[in-house]
Amino acid sequence: MDADSSYAFNYAWSGDLQPIENCIPAALKSDLLPSIVARGSSAGHQWGVGLVDSGVAMYASKKALTKAGVRIPTGYKDAWTAAEFDDVLSKLKSAGYVKPLDVWKNIGKGEFYPYAYAPVIWSAGGDLIDRSTYKTADGALNSPAVVKAMTEFQGYFKNGYVDDNTDSNAFTAGRSALSWVGFWQYAAFKKALGDDLLVLPLPNYGKQPAGAQGSWQWTMTKGVDPDVAWKWIAFTMQADNVAAMAKANSGVPALQSVLATNDLYGPTGGLALIGEALAKGYSVARPPHPAYATISGAVAQAFQDVIDGKDPKAAMDEAVSTIDGDLKANDFYPLPG
Protein backbone atom coordinates (compact mmCIF):
# COMPACT_ATOMS: atom_id res chain seq x y z
CA MET A 1 0.00 0.00 0.00
CA ASP A 2 1.21 3.48 -0.86
CA ALA A 3 0.92 5.86 2.11
CA ASP A 4 1.60 9.58 2.28
CA SER A 5 3.91 11.06 4.88
CA SER A 6 3.51 10.01 8.48
CA TYR A 7 0.12 8.38 8.01
CA ALA A 8 1.91 5.02 7.79
CA PHE A 9 2.67 5.22 11.51
CA ASN A 10 -0.98 5.51 12.35
CA TYR A 11 -1.73 2.42 10.26
CA ALA A 12 1.23 0.63 11.83
CA TRP A 13 0.09 1.45 15.34
CA SER A 14 -3.43 0.28 14.50
CA GLY A 15 -1.90 -3.09 13.63
CA ASP A 16 -2.70 -2.93 9.93
CA LEU A 17 0.90 -3.06 8.71
CA GLN A 18 3.81 -5.45 8.99
CA PRO A 19 7.40 -4.20 9.24
CA ILE A 20 9.51 -4.51 6.12
CA GLU A 21 13.07 -4.31 7.47
CA ASN A 22 13.65 -8.07 7.14
CA CYS A 23 12.75 -7.96 3.44
CA ILE A 24 15.31 -5.34 2.47
CA PRO A 25 18.53 -6.89 1.19
CA ALA A 26 21.76 -5.48 2.63
CA ALA A 27 22.89 -4.06 -0.71
CA LEU A 28 19.72 -2.04 -1.07
CA LYS A 29 19.74 -1.01 2.56
CA SER A 30 23.18 0.53 2.32
CA ASP A 31 22.18 2.36 -0.87
CA LEU A 32 19.05 4.00 0.61
CA LEU A 33 19.30 7.65 1.63
CA PRO A 34 19.38 7.91 5.43
CA SER A 35 16.41 10.27 5.24
CA ILE A 36 14.37 7.59 3.44
CA VAL A 37 15.13 5.01 6.14
CA ALA A 38 14.34 7.52 8.88
CA ARG A 39 11.16 8.48 7.09
CA GLY A 40 9.90 4.91 7.14
CA SER A 41 10.87 4.06 10.70
CA SER A 42 9.07 4.33 13.99
CA ALA A 43 8.89 2.32 17.22
CA GLY A 44 12.00 0.35 16.33
CA HIS A 45 10.80 -0.93 12.97
CA GLN A 46 10.97 0.18 9.38
CA TRP A 47 7.43 0.24 8.01
CA GLY A 48 7.89 1.91 4.68
CA VAL A 49 10.26 2.76 1.88
CA GLY A 50 9.73 5.42 -0.77
CA LEU A 51 11.06 5.99 -4.27
CA VAL A 52 11.77 9.65 -3.78
CA ASP A 53 12.37 12.15 -1.05
CA SER A 54 11.14 15.67 -1.33
CA GLY A 55 11.58 19.30 -0.51
CA VAL A 56 9.86 22.63 -0.57
CA ALA A 57 11.27 25.88 -1.92
CA MET A 58 10.57 29.47 -2.78
CA TYR A 59 10.70 29.61 -6.55
CA ALA A 60 11.39 33.09 -7.89
CA SER A 61 11.78 35.06 -11.06
CA LYS A 62 15.28 36.51 -11.24
CA LYS A 63 14.12 39.37 -13.48
CA ALA A 64 11.42 40.39 -11.02
CA LEU A 65 13.78 40.36 -8.04
CA THR A 66 16.36 42.37 -9.95
CA LYS A 67 13.73 44.85 -11.07
CA ALA A 68 12.54 45.29 -7.48
CA GLY A 69 16.14 45.77 -6.39
CA VAL A 70 16.20 43.16 -3.63
CA ARG A 71 19.03 40.95 -2.42
CA ILE A 72 18.99 37.43 -3.84
CA PRO A 73 19.98 34.73 -1.31
CA THR A 74 22.53 32.16 -2.46
CA GLY A 75 21.43 29.32 -0.20
CA TYR A 76 20.21 28.40 3.25
CA LYS A 77 23.00 30.31 4.98
CA ASP A 78 21.83 33.70 3.81
CA ALA A 79 18.10 33.09 3.45
CA TRP A 80 15.85 36.14 3.75
CA THR A 81 14.83 36.93 7.29
CA ALA A 82 11.10 37.34 7.91
CA ALA A 83 11.48 41.12 8.08
CA GLU A 84 13.54 41.18 4.91
CA PHE A 85 10.93 39.04 3.17
CA ASP A 86 8.22 41.59 4.04
CA ASP A 87 10.40 44.22 2.42
CA VAL A 88 10.87 41.99 -0.65
CA LEU A 89 7.10 41.61 -1.04
CA SER A 90 6.49 45.32 -0.62
CA LYS A 91 9.20 46.20 -3.18
CA LEU A 92 7.87 43.63 -5.65
CA LYS A 93 4.43 45.16 -5.28
CA SER A 94 5.86 48.60 -6.00
CA ALA A 95 7.60 47.10 -9.02
CA GLY A 96 4.23 46.21 -10.50
CA TYR A 97 3.42 42.79 -9.08
CA VAL A 98 -0.02 43.35 -7.57
CA LYS A 99 -0.01 39.87 -6.03
CA PRO A 100 3.73 39.13 -5.71
CA LEU A 101 3.44 35.90 -3.72
CA ASP A 102 1.82 32.59 -4.62
CA VAL A 103 1.63 29.94 -1.88
CA TRP A 104 -0.55 27.44 -3.81
CA LYS A 105 -3.45 28.21 -1.55
CA ASN A 106 -5.69 26.54 -4.13
CA ILE A 107 -4.37 23.07 -3.26
CA GLY A 108 -6.30 23.67 -0.08
CA LYS A 109 -6.42 22.34 3.36
CA GLY A 110 -5.07 18.81 3.19
CA GLU A 111 -1.63 17.32 3.61
CA PHE A 112 -0.19 20.19 1.56
CA TYR A 113 -0.58 22.79 4.32
CA PRO A 114 1.32 20.87 7.02
CA TYR A 115 3.84 19.78 4.40
CA ALA A 116 4.65 23.09 2.76
CA TYR A 117 3.88 25.60 5.54
CA ALA A 118 5.12 23.70 8.62
CA PRO A 119 8.67 25.01 7.91
CA VAL A 120 7.35 28.35 9.22
CA ILE A 121 6.86 26.64 12.59
CA TRP A 122 10.15 24.75 12.49
CA SER A 123 12.06 27.81 11.38
CA ALA A 124 10.73 29.70 14.40
CA GLY A 125 12.06 26.93 16.64
CA GLY A 126 8.73 25.25 17.23
CA ASP A 127 7.38 21.85 16.26
CA LEU A 128 4.07 20.14 15.55
CA ILE A 129 4.34 18.12 18.77
CA ASP A 130 6.79 18.00 21.66
CA ARG A 131 9.10 15.28 20.34
CA SER A 132 10.86 14.74 23.66
CA THR A 133 7.76 13.14 25.17
CA TYR A 134 5.14 12.89 22.41
CA LYS A 135 2.59 13.62 25.12
CA THR A 136 1.61 17.18 24.26
CA ALA A 137 1.88 19.82 21.56
CA ASP A 138 1.66 22.56 24.18
CA GLY A 139 4.74 24.75 24.17
CA ALA A 140 5.90 23.38 20.80
CA LEU A 141 3.08 24.42 18.47
CA ASN A 142 1.90 27.51 20.34
CA SER A 143 5.12 29.01 21.69
CA PRO A 144 5.43 32.81 21.47
CA ALA A 145 8.05 32.41 18.70
CA VAL A 146 5.65 30.27 16.63
CA VAL A 147 2.79 32.70 17.18
CA LYS A 148 5.07 35.53 16.05
CA ALA A 149 5.99 33.60 12.89
CA MET A 150 2.34 32.79 12.20
CA THR A 151 1.51 36.49 12.59
CA GLU A 152 4.20 37.22 9.96
CA PHE A 153 2.67 34.55 7.73
CA GLN A 154 -0.81 36.02 8.20
CA GLY A 155 0.54 39.41 7.18
CA TYR A 156 1.11 38.20 3.61
CA PHE A 157 -2.63 37.59 3.27
CA LYS A 158 -3.74 40.66 5.25
CA ASN A 159 -1.58 42.91 3.11
CA GLY A 160 -3.04 41.39 -0.05
CA TYR A 161 0.29 40.03 -1.31
CA VAL A 162 -0.98 36.52 -2.03
CA ASP A 163 -2.52 35.42 -5.30
CA ASP A 164 -5.49 33.05 -4.94
CA ASN A 165 -3.95 30.95 -7.74
CA THR A 166 -7.32 29.41 -8.58
CA ASP A 167 -5.99 28.57 -12.04
CA SER A 168 -2.62 27.16 -10.79
CA ASN A 169 -0.90 29.61 -13.15
CA ALA A 170 -0.10 32.57 -10.89
CA PHE A 171 3.66 32.04 -11.19
CA THR A 172 3.92 30.68 -14.72
CA ALA A 173 1.64 33.41 -16.07
CA GLY A 174 3.81 36.03 -14.36
CA ARG A 175 1.17 37.39 -11.98
CA SER A 176 3.34 36.43 -9.02
CA ALA A 177 7.11 36.75 -8.77
CA LEU A 178 7.46 34.17 -5.99
CA SER A 179 5.95 30.72 -5.65
CA TRP A 180 6.07 28.74 -2.39
CA VAL A 181 5.62 25.08 -3.32
CA GLY A 182 7.14 21.60 -3.41
CA PHE A 183 9.73 20.05 -5.71
CA TRP A 184 7.07 18.63 -8.03
CA GLN A 185 6.46 21.99 -9.72
CA TYR A 186 10.11 22.36 -10.77
CA ALA A 187 9.75 20.90 -14.27
CA ALA A 188 6.70 23.00 -15.11
CA PHE A 189 8.32 26.17 -13.77
CA LYS A 190 11.59 25.50 -15.56
CA LYS A 191 9.70 25.03 -18.80
CA ALA A 192 7.82 28.30 -18.35
CA LEU A 193 10.62 30.50 -17.02
CA GLY A 194 13.79 28.89 -18.34
CA ASP A 195 16.94 30.58 -17.05
CA ASP A 196 14.89 33.18 -15.23
CA LEU A 197 13.90 30.57 -12.62
CA LEU A 198 15.53 30.77 -9.20
CA VAL A 199 15.12 28.20 -6.43
CA LEU A 200 15.45 29.91 -3.04
CA PRO A 201 15.03 28.84 0.58
CA LEU A 202 11.90 29.76 2.52
CA PRO A 203 12.34 32.80 4.79
CA ASN A 204 14.00 32.44 8.18
CA TYR A 205 11.48 33.00 10.96
CA GLY A 206 13.99 33.21 13.77
CA LYS A 207 15.95 30.07 14.59
CA GLN A 208 17.14 28.90 11.19
CA PRO A 209 15.61 28.53 7.74
CA ALA A 210 13.76 25.24 7.33
CA GLY A 211 12.47 22.98 4.61
CA ALA A 212 10.22 19.97 4.37
CA GLN A 213 10.97 16.38 3.44
CA GLY A 214 9.38 12.99 3.03
CA SER A 215 7.04 11.71 0.39
CA TRP A 216 4.82 8.75 -0.37
CA GLN A 217 6.15 5.36 0.60
CA TRP A 218 5.38 1.69 0.14
CA THR A 219 4.08 -0.19 3.12
CA MET A 220 2.92 -3.78 3.56
CA THR A 221 -0.46 -4.56 5.02
CA LYS A 222 -0.76 -7.36 7.50
CA GLY A 223 -1.90 -10.64 6.01
CA VAL A 224 -0.10 -10.37 2.69
CA ASP A 225 2.77 -12.71 1.92
CA PRO A 226 5.81 -10.47 2.56
CA ASP A 227 7.90 -12.23 -0.11
CA VAL A 228 5.29 -11.59 -2.78
CA ALA A 229 4.72 -7.98 -1.72
CA TRP A 230 8.44 -7.36 -1.54
CA LYS A 231 8.88 -8.56 -5.12
CA TRP A 232 6.77 -5.63 -6.28
CA ILE A 233 8.51 -3.13 -4.01
CA ALA A 234 11.93 -4.48 -5.04
CA PHE A 235 10.96 -4.04 -8.68
CA THR A 236 9.99 -0.39 -8.19
CA MET A 237 13.14 0.19 -6.15
CA GLN A 238 15.45 -0.95 -8.98
CA ALA A 239 17.89 1.80 -9.86
CA ASP A 240 16.46 2.49 -13.32
CA ASN A 241 12.89 2.66 -11.98
CA VAL A 242 13.85 5.02 -9.17
CA ALA A 243 15.68 7.15 -11.71
CA ALA A 244 12.62 7.18 -13.99
CA MET A 245 10.36 8.22 -11.12
CA ALA A 246 12.74 10.94 -9.99
CA LYS A 247 12.93 12.21 -13.56
CA ALA A 248 9.15 12.22 -13.92
CA ASN A 249 8.34 14.21 -10.77
CA SER A 250 11.70 15.92 -10.08
CA GLY A 251 11.88 14.16 -6.73
CA VAL A 252 15.05 13.31 -4.85
CA PRO A 253 15.90 9.71 -5.82
CA ALA A 254 15.87 7.45 -2.77
CA LEU A 255 19.08 5.61 -3.78
CA GLN A 256 22.49 7.17 -3.24
CA SER A 257 23.75 5.48 -6.39
CA VAL A 258 21.02 7.15 -8.45
CA LEU A 259 21.35 10.48 -6.68
CA ALA A 260 25.04 10.58 -7.63
CA THR A 261 24.13 10.49 -11.32
CA ASN A 262 21.24 12.96 -10.94
CA ASP A 263 22.11 16.45 -12.17
CA LEU A 264 19.09 18.16 -10.63
CA TYR A 265 20.25 17.80 -7.03
CA GLY A 266 24.00 18.04 -7.61
CA PRO A 267 25.94 21.16 -6.51
CA THR A 268 25.10 22.96 -9.75
CA GLY A 269 21.70 21.40 -10.39
CA GLY A 270 18.40 23.25 -10.51
CA LEU A 271 17.25 21.85 -7.20
CA ALA A 272 20.67 21.90 -5.49
CA LEU A 273 18.98 23.84 -2.71
CA ILE A 274 16.68 20.95 -1.81
CA GLY A 275 19.66 18.59 -1.95
CA GLU A 276 21.45 20.95 0.45
CA ALA A 277 18.43 21.03 2.78
CA LEU A 278 18.38 17.24 3.02
CA ALA A 279 22.14 16.82 3.29
CA LYS A 280 22.73 19.58 5.84
CA GLY A 281 19.67 18.98 7.98
CA TYR A 282 17.71 22.14 7.19
CA SER A 283 14.69 20.10 6.23
CA VAL A 284 12.59 18.59 8.99
CA ALA A 285 10.54 15.39 8.82
CA ARG A 286 6.96 15.46 9.96
CA PRO A 287 6.65 13.69 13.32
CA PRO A 288 6.81 9.90 12.79
CA HIS A 289 4.04 9.20 15.25
CA PRO A 290 0.63 7.50 15.16
CA ALA A 291 -1.03 10.76 16.22
CA TYR A 292 0.08 12.31 12.94
CA ALA A 293 -3.33 11.80 11.35
CA THR A 294 -4.80 14.21 13.90
CA ILE A 295 -1.74 16.47 14.00
CA SER A 296 -1.95 16.97 10.25
CA GLY A 297 -5.63 17.88 10.35
CA ALA A 298 -5.21 20.24 13.30
CA VAL A 299 -2.18 22.01 11.83
CA ALA A 300 -3.89 22.33 8.43
CA GLN A 301 -6.92 23.86 10.13
CA ALA A 302 -4.70 26.28 12.07
CA PHE A 303 -3.00 27.46 8.87
CA GLN A 304 -6.36 27.79 7.13
CA ASP A 305 -7.76 29.85 10.00
CA VAL A 306 -4.68 32.06 10.15
CA ILE A 307 -4.94 32.62 6.41
CA ASP A 308 -8.59 33.53 6.88
CA GLY A 309 -7.72 36.09 9.55
CA LYS A 310 -8.12 34.31 12.87
CA ASP A 311 -5.95 35.48 15.78
CA PRO A 312 -2.76 33.37 15.40
CA LYS A 313 -2.44 32.68 19.11
CA ALA A 314 -6.04 31.41 19.28
CA ALA A 315 -5.55 29.30 16.14
CA MET A 316 -2.41 27.62 17.51
CA ASP A 317 -3.98 27.06 20.93
CA GLU A 318 -6.94 25.39 19.29
CA ALA A 319 -4.64 23.07 17.30
CA VAL A 320 -2.82 22.18 20.51
CA SER A 321 -6.08 21.36 22.25
CA THR A 322 -7.20 19.16 19.34
CA ILE A 323 -3.88 17.27 19.31
CA ASP A 324 -3.68 16.93 23.09
CA GLY A 325 -7.29 15.72 23.17
CA ASP A 326 -6.43 13.05 20.62
CA LEU A 327 -3.32 11.95 22.52
CA LYS A 328 -5.35 11.65 25.68
CA ALA A 329 -8.19 9.78 23.97
CA ASN A 330 -5.65 7.20 22.79
CA ASP A 331 -3.88 6.83 26.13
CA PHE A 332 -0.88 8.56 24.49
CA TYR A 333 -0.57 5.79 21.91
CA PRO A 334 1.11 3.02 23.93
CA LEU A 335 3.27 0.64 21.94
CA PRO A 336 1.27 -2.42 20.96
CA GLY A 337 1.95 -5.63 22.84
Binding site: W13, G15, D16, D164, A293, D308, G309, D326, P336
Partner: protein, 311 residues
Protein backbone atom coordinates in the same frame (compact mmCIF):
# COMPACT_ATOMS: atom_id res chain seq x y z
CA UNK B 1 -26.86 9.36 7.18
CA UNK B 2 -29.88 9.31 4.97
CA UNK B 3 -33.08 10.75 6.24
CA UNK B 4 -36.25 9.64 4.62
CA UNK B 5 -39.21 11.95 4.95
CA UNK B 6 -42.23 10.27 6.40
CA UNK B 7 -44.69 11.42 3.81
CA UNK B 8 -46.46 8.29 2.73
CA UNK B 9 -49.75 7.83 4.50
CA UNK B 10 -50.08 4.11 4.90
CA UNK B 11 -53.80 3.65 4.94
CA UNK B 12 -54.73 1.05 7.49
CA UNK B 13 -57.66 -1.04 6.40
CA UNK B 14 -60.36 -1.46 8.97
CA UNK B 15 -62.22 -4.53 7.82
CA UNK B 16 -65.28 -5.83 9.52
CA UNK B 17 -64.77 -8.86 11.76
CA UNK B 18 -66.99 -11.02 9.49
CA UNK B 19 -64.47 -10.88 6.65
CA UNK B 20 -61.62 -12.37 8.61
CA UNK B 21 -60.83 -15.22 6.27
CA UNK B 22 -60.66 -13.03 3.21
CA UNK B 23 -58.39 -10.54 4.96
CA UNK B 24 -55.50 -12.93 5.49
CA UNK B 25 -54.32 -13.29 1.95
CA UNK B 26 -54.14 -9.64 0.94
CA UNK B 27 -52.25 -9.01 4.17
CA UNK B 28 -49.68 -11.67 3.37
CA UNK B 29 -49.18 -10.37 -0.14
CA UNK B 30 -48.90 -6.79 1.06
CA UNK B 31 -46.20 -7.84 3.50
CA UNK B 32 -44.46 -9.65 0.65
CA UNK B 33 -44.54 -6.52 -1.45
CA UNK B 34 -43.28 -4.49 1.48
CA UNK B 35 -40.53 -6.97 2.28
CA UNK B 36 -37.79 -5.75 -0.10
CA UNK B 37 -38.25 -2.17 1.04
CA UNK B 38 -38.40 -3.08 4.70
CA UNK B 39 -35.35 -5.30 4.46
CA UNK B 40 -33.34 -2.54 2.81
CA UNK B 41 -34.54 0.03 5.33
CA UNK B 42 -33.63 -2.29 8.17
CA UNK B 43 -30.21 -3.24 6.82
CA UNK B 44 -29.11 0.19 5.62
CA UNK B 45 -30.98 2.50 7.98
CA UNK B 46 -32.39 1.04 11.15
CA UNK B 47 -29.57 -1.34 12.06
CA UNK B 48 -26.70 1.10 11.33
CA UNK B 49 -28.52 3.75 13.32
CA UNK B 50 -28.99 1.39 16.26
CA UNK B 51 -25.27 0.62 16.08
CA UNK B 52 -24.51 4.36 15.94
CA UNK B 53 -26.56 4.93 19.09
CA UNK B 54 -24.68 2.16 20.85
CA UNK B 55 -21.25 3.36 19.68
CA UNK B 56 -21.99 6.93 20.75
CA UNK B 57 -21.68 5.78 24.37
CA UNK B 58 -18.22 4.29 23.80
CA UNK B 59 -14.81 5.60 22.78
CA UNK B 60 -14.85 3.72 19.44
CA UNK B 61 -12.06 4.86 17.09
CA UNK B 62 -11.85 4.42 13.34
CA UNK B 63 -8.87 2.15 13.75
CA UNK B 64 -7.14 1.46 17.02
CA UNK B 65 -5.61 -1.50 18.83
CA UNK B 66 -6.86 -0.16 22.15
CA UNK B 67 -9.94 -1.93 23.49
CA UNK B 68 -13.27 -0.17 23.17
CA UNK B 69 -14.75 0.93 26.44
CA UNK B 70 -17.94 2.54 27.57
CA UNK B 71 -17.75 6.24 28.36
CA UNK B 72 -21.38 6.97 29.24
CA UNK B 73 -22.60 10.40 28.14
CA UNK B 74 -19.08 11.78 27.67
CA UNK B 75 -19.42 12.22 23.88
CA UNK B 76 -22.69 14.13 24.30
CA UNK B 77 -21.27 16.26 27.09
CA UNK B 78 -18.24 17.15 24.95
CA UNK B 79 -20.55 17.97 22.04
CA UNK B 80 -22.54 20.36 24.22
CA UNK B 81 -19.34 22.33 24.92
CA UNK B 82 -18.01 22.09 21.37
CA UNK B 83 -18.02 25.56 19.81
CA UNK B 84 -17.41 24.18 16.31
CA UNK B 85 -20.46 21.93 16.54
CA UNK B 86 -22.67 24.80 17.74
CA UNK B 87 -21.37 26.98 14.97
CA UNK B 88 -22.17 24.25 12.44
CA UNK B 89 -25.68 23.79 13.81
CA UNK B 90 -26.29 27.55 13.75
CA UNK B 91 -25.16 27.67 10.12
CA UNK B 92 -27.57 24.85 9.29
CA UNK B 93 -30.42 26.74 10.97
CA UNK B 94 -29.62 30.01 9.20
CA UNK B 95 -29.30 28.16 5.91
CA UNK B 96 -32.65 26.43 6.38
CA UNK B 97 -34.37 29.63 7.56
CA UNK B 98 -33.35 31.41 4.36
CA UNK B 99 -33.32 28.64 1.79
CA UNK B 100 -36.62 26.94 2.63
CA UNK B 101 -38.90 29.94 2.06
CA UNK B 102 -36.84 31.44 -0.77
CA UNK B 103 -36.43 28.18 -2.65
CA UNK B 104 -40.06 27.12 -2.21
CA UNK B 105 -41.28 30.56 -3.26
CA UNK B 106 -39.02 30.64 -6.28
CA UNK B 107 -40.01 27.11 -7.24
CA UNK B 108 -43.67 28.14 -7.06
CA UNK B 109 -43.05 31.20 -9.25
CA UNK B 110 -41.17 29.09 -11.80
CA UNK B 111 -43.86 26.40 -11.72
CA UNK B 112 -46.55 29.03 -12.36
CA UNK B 113 -44.50 30.44 -15.23
CA UNK B 114 -43.94 27.12 -16.97
CA UNK B 115 -47.58 26.15 -16.37
CA UNK B 116 -48.69 28.87 -18.82
CA UNK B 117 -49.89 27.91 -22.25
CA UNK B 118 -47.27 29.80 -24.21
CA UNK B 119 -44.79 28.78 -26.90
CA UNK B 120 -41.52 27.10 -25.99
CA UNK B 121 -42.85 26.27 -22.54
CA UNK B 122 -41.29 22.82 -22.71
CA UNK B 123 -37.97 24.41 -23.49
CA UNK B 124 -38.17 26.60 -20.39
CA UNK B 125 -39.18 23.65 -18.24
CA UNK B 126 -36.08 21.82 -19.45
CA UNK B 127 -33.86 24.85 -18.83
CA UNK B 128 -35.07 25.33 -15.26
CA UNK B 129 -34.70 21.63 -14.57
CA UNK B 130 -31.24 21.29 -16.14
CA UNK B 131 -29.20 22.13 -12.98
CA UNK B 132 -30.87 19.23 -11.16
CA UNK B 133 -29.66 16.82 -13.83
CA UNK B 134 -26.15 18.23 -13.53
CA UNK B 135 -25.54 16.95 -10.03
CA UNK B 136 -24.57 19.09 -7.07
CA UNK B 137 -20.89 18.12 -7.07
CA UNK B 138 -20.43 19.28 -10.66
CA UNK B 139 -22.46 22.43 -10.03
CA UNK B 140 -20.36 23.23 -6.96
CA UNK B 141 -17.10 22.80 -8.84
CA UNK B 142 -18.28 25.14 -11.59
CA UNK B 143 -19.66 27.73 -9.17
CA UNK B 144 -16.39 27.59 -7.24
CA UNK B 145 -14.71 29.03 -10.33
CA UNK B 146 -17.56 31.46 -11.04
CA UNK B 147 -17.25 32.85 -7.51
CA UNK B 148 -13.48 33.36 -7.78
CA UNK B 149 -12.97 36.86 -6.42
CA UNK B 150 -10.10 37.73 -8.77
CA UNK B 151 -11.08 36.23 -12.09
CA UNK B 152 -14.55 34.81 -11.58
CA UNK B 153 -17.44 35.45 -13.92
CA UNK B 154 -19.75 36.62 -11.12
CA UNK B 155 -17.44 39.43 -10.04
CA UNK B 156 -16.62 40.18 -13.67
CA UNK B 157 -20.30 40.74 -14.36
CA UNK B 158 -20.75 42.78 -11.16
CA UNK B 159 -17.77 44.95 -12.08
CA UNK B 160 -19.27 45.62 -15.48
CA UNK B 161 -22.71 46.53 -14.15
CA UNK B 162 -21.61 48.55 -11.12
CA UNK B 163 -18.43 50.02 -12.66
CA UNK B 164 -16.27 48.18 -10.14
CA UNK B 165 -18.06 49.50 -7.06
CA UNK B 166 -19.41 46.12 -5.93
CA UNK B 167 -16.69 43.54 -5.55
CA UNK B 168 -17.65 40.91 -2.94
CA UNK B 169 -15.02 38.49 -1.65
CA UNK B 170 -17.58 35.65 -1.90
CA UNK B 171 -16.06 32.38 -0.65
CA UNK B 172 -13.11 34.20 0.94
CA UNK B 173 -15.13 36.27 3.38
CA UNK B 174 -17.07 35.20 6.45
CA UNK B 175 -19.79 37.69 5.48
CA UNK B 176 -20.54 36.32 2.04
CA UNK B 177 -19.48 32.66 2.03
CA UNK B 178 -22.77 31.28 3.34
CA UNK B 179 -24.71 33.52 0.95
CA UNK B 180 -22.68 32.10 -1.94
CA UNK B 181 -23.45 28.58 -0.77
CA UNK B 182 -27.15 29.47 -0.57
CA UNK B 183 -27.13 30.83 -4.11
CA UNK B 184 -25.54 27.65 -5.46
CA UNK B 185 -27.90 25.42 -3.48
CA UNK B 186 -31.03 27.23 -4.63
CA UNK B 187 -29.86 27.40 -8.22
CA UNK B 188 -28.99 23.72 -8.27
CA UNK B 189 -32.15 22.30 -6.76
CA UNK B 190 -35.01 24.76 -7.34
CA UNK B 191 -35.85 22.91 -10.56
CA UNK B 192 -36.69 19.77 -8.61
CA UNK B 193 -39.22 21.56 -6.39
CA UNK B 194 -40.56 23.29 -9.49
CA UNK B 195 -41.37 19.97 -11.14
CA UNK B 196 -43.19 18.67 -8.09
CA UNK B 197 -45.20 21.89 -7.75
CA UNK B 198 -45.89 21.84 -11.49
CA UNK B 199 -47.43 18.40 -11.12
CA UNK B 200 -49.58 19.82 -8.31
CA UNK B 201 -50.60 22.80 -10.42
CA UNK B 202 -51.69 20.60 -13.29
CA UNK B 203 -54.05 18.81 -10.94
CA UNK B 204 -55.84 22.03 -9.99
CA UNK B 205 -59.40 21.64 -11.28
CA UNK B 206 -59.88 23.88 -14.31
CA UNK B 207 -63.61 24.24 -13.62
CA UNK B 208 -62.92 25.71 -10.17
CA UNK B 209 -60.65 28.34 -11.69
CA UNK B 210 -63.19 29.04 -14.41
CA UNK B 211 -66.02 29.35 -11.91
CA UNK B 212 -63.97 31.77 -9.86
CA UNK B 213 -63.24 33.79 -12.97
CA UNK B 214 -66.95 33.90 -13.85
CA UNK B 215 -67.65 35.08 -10.30
CA UNK B 216 -65.34 38.01 -10.96
CA UNK B 217 -62.28 36.97 -8.95
CA UNK B 218 -59.06 38.76 -9.92
CA UNK B 219 -56.06 36.59 -10.96
CA UNK B 220 -54.46 37.24 -7.58
CA UNK B 221 -57.64 36.18 -5.74
CA UNK B 222 -57.88 33.07 -7.88
CA UNK B 223 -54.29 32.17 -7.03
CA UNK B 224 -54.75 32.87 -3.35
CA UNK B 225 -58.11 31.19 -2.81
CA UNK B 226 -58.24 28.46 -5.45
CA UNK B 227 -54.74 27.49 -6.59
CA UNK B 228 -52.89 27.58 -3.26
CA UNK B 229 -55.52 25.58 -1.33
CA UNK B 230 -55.60 23.05 -4.17
CA UNK B 231 -51.86 22.43 -4.06
CA UNK B 232 -51.63 22.65 -0.30
CA UNK B 233 -50.50 19.05 0.16
CA UNK B 234 -47.87 19.39 -2.53
CA UNK B 235 -46.59 22.58 -0.90
CA UNK B 236 -46.37 20.90 2.49
CA UNK B 237 -44.43 18.05 0.93
CA UNK B 238 -42.04 20.44 -0.81
CA UNK B 239 -41.42 22.45 2.35
CA UNK B 240 -40.71 19.29 4.34
CA UNK B 241 -38.36 17.96 1.67
CA UNK B 242 -36.52 21.26 1.33
CA UNK B 243 -36.10 21.54 5.09
CA UNK B 244 -34.56 18.09 5.29
CA UNK B 245 -32.30 18.79 2.32
CA UNK B 246 -31.26 22.07 3.94
CA UNK B 247 -30.10 20.22 7.03
CA UNK B 248 -28.32 17.65 4.91
CA UNK B 249 -26.13 20.40 3.44
CA UNK B 250 -22.76 18.86 2.71
CA UNK B 251 -21.65 18.49 -0.93
CA UNK B 252 -21.53 22.20 -1.71
CA UNK B 253 -19.54 23.19 1.35
CA UNK B 254 -17.25 20.17 1.11
CA UNK B 255 -16.29 21.09 -2.43
CA UNK B 256 -16.38 24.88 -2.28
CA UNK B 257 -15.22 25.93 1.19
CA UNK B 258 -14.48 22.95 3.44
CA UNK B 259 -16.48 24.82 6.06
CA UNK B 260 -14.33 27.95 5.91
CA UNK B 261 -13.47 30.73 6.13
CA UNK B 262 -13.33 30.49 9.94
CA UNK B 263 -16.22 28.07 10.19
CA UNK B 264 -18.66 30.39 8.45
CA UNK B 265 -19.95 27.59 6.22
CA UNK B 266 -19.34 24.65 8.53
CA UNK B 267 -22.34 22.32 8.73
CA UNK B 268 -23.27 19.47 11.03
CA UNK B 269 -22.61 16.80 8.43
CA UNK B 270 -19.26 18.33 7.50
CA UNK B 271 -18.33 18.40 11.16
CA UNK B 272 -19.39 14.75 11.42
CA UNK B 273 -17.10 13.72 8.58
CA UNK B 274 -14.20 15.75 10.00
CA UNK B 275 -14.56 14.27 13.46
CA UNK B 276 -15.22 10.72 12.26
CA UNK B 277 -12.62 10.42 9.53
CA UNK B 278 -9.99 13.13 9.89
CA UNK B 279 -9.79 12.81 13.66
CA UNK B 280 -10.93 9.17 13.60
CA UNK B 281 -13.29 9.70 16.54
CA UNK B 282 -16.07 7.46 15.31
CA UNK B 283 -17.90 7.44 18.64
CA UNK B 284 -18.09 11.22 18.73
CA UNK B 285 -19.29 11.26 15.11
CA UNK B 286 -22.00 8.78 16.06
CA UNK B 287 -23.09 11.10 18.86
CA UNK B 288 -23.30 13.94 16.33
CA UNK B 289 -25.45 11.83 14.03
CA UNK B 290 -27.81 10.89 16.87
CA UNK B 291 -28.21 14.50 18.01
CA UNK B 292 -28.63 15.59 14.41
CA UNK B 293 -31.29 12.95 13.79
CA UNK B 294 -33.25 14.05 16.84
CA UNK B 295 -33.09 17.72 15.87
CA UNK B 296 -34.21 17.13 12.28
CA UNK B 297 -36.97 14.77 13.40
CA UNK B 298 -38.18 17.31 15.95
CA UNK B 299 -38.24 20.10 13.39
CA UNK B 300 -40.08 17.94 10.87
CA UNK B 301 -42.64 16.81 13.42
CA UNK B 302 -43.30 20.37 14.60
CA UNK B 303 -43.54 21.57 11.02
CA UNK B 304 -46.06 18.89 10.13
CA UNK B 305 -48.09 19.56 13.24
CA UNK B 306 -48.34 23.23 12.26
CA UNK B 307 -49.32 22.63 8.63
CA UNK B 308 -51.17 19.36 8.32
CA UNK B 309 -51.83 17.75 5.00
CA UNK B 310 -55.49 17.54 4.19
CA UNK B 311 -57.12 14.75 2.32
Amino acid sequence: MILTPTTSNTSVRTDEPGRRRRRRRPQLSSWLFLAPGLVFLAVFLAVPFAIAVRLSFTNQRLSSPLPRRSVGWENYRALWHDAAFRRALTNNLIFAAVVVPVQTGLALVLALLVNQKVRFVRFFRAVFFAPVVMGIAVASSVWFLLFDRQNGLVNGALDLVTFGHVHPQWLQSTHTSLIAIMIVSIWASVGFQMVILLAGLQDVAADLLEAAEVDGATPLQRFRHVTVPSIRNTLVFVVTMTTIFAFRLFDQVYIMTQGGPLGSTDTVLLELVKVGYERQQVARACAISVVFFLIVTAITVVQRALVKERT
